[in-house]
Amino acid sequence: MNETLVTMELGDIIEETRDFLSEEFEVNRNLILPENSLKDTLDLDSLDYVDLVVLIEENLNIKVTGEDFKDIVTFGDFYKLVQKKLSL
């Protein structure tokens, strides 16, 4: 596991996630809020989800699967998944 990430607080990870998602998907960072829809905000199609998996792996050093995305609607859901994967 990424040494830096395990010492980071969830809040820091959320901020980092907002940074890389807004940059990659060219979305206003202020729209990446816990209550907003991940799919709609980032305008994701099925192919984009593969890019998302790669980004998460590269930036957060965690692996996510198609199964993981089944229960994710909002960014808040996504942060819960990250929290679970990093055992924070």
Partner: protein, 138 residues
């Protein structure tokens, strides 16, 4: 060599004149390798060189052959795949007709029926093109 040119049509859906792979040299879950001799009358040869689109198609067909071979080993019949997107493409040089290219495909990620692969073609050890392709498998 695990699948020779004469049997390649058994594991890919492409048919002449749009077959851009000869022999499948090696297959594992993490790496596919092929070769291809470029005839001067290949439909993707222009002004004596294979076009960039031919190199991309060669990577895609190497991918199809690799997955097709693995499908045969597991389930029986190869599935059909479609190119969903090509990204991070970098072209270094175009190969001349009458040369043989060597292609390496590395599947890197899978999400359901979508695979992300990295592909590279070489000629005499020189890299020709590299890219990432998203393949949607039916």
């Amino acid at each position: 060599m695990i699948v020779k040119k004469e049997r390649i049509a058994d594991i890919i859906p492409h048919r002449p004149p749009f077959v851009m792979i000869d022999n499948l040299i090696e297959v594992s879950e993490s790496r596919f390798e092929s070769d291809f001799f470029i005839d001067e009358d290949n439909i993707l040869v222009r002004s004596g060189s294979m076009e960039e689109s031919g190199l991309i198609e060669n990577i895609a067909q190497t991918c199809a052959a690799g997955f097709g071979y693995l499908d045969r080993e597991k389930e029986g019949e190869p599935r059909i795949g479609f190119i969903g997107a090509v990204s991070k493409l970098e072209l270094f040089e175009l190969p001349l007709a009458h040369s043989t290219i060597h292609t390496i495909v590395t599947p890197t990620h899978q999400l359901g029926n979508i695979f992300l692969v990295k592909g590279e073609n070489y000629c005499n050890g020189r890299k020709l093109l590299e890219c990432e392709i998203k393949i949607v498998v039916t």
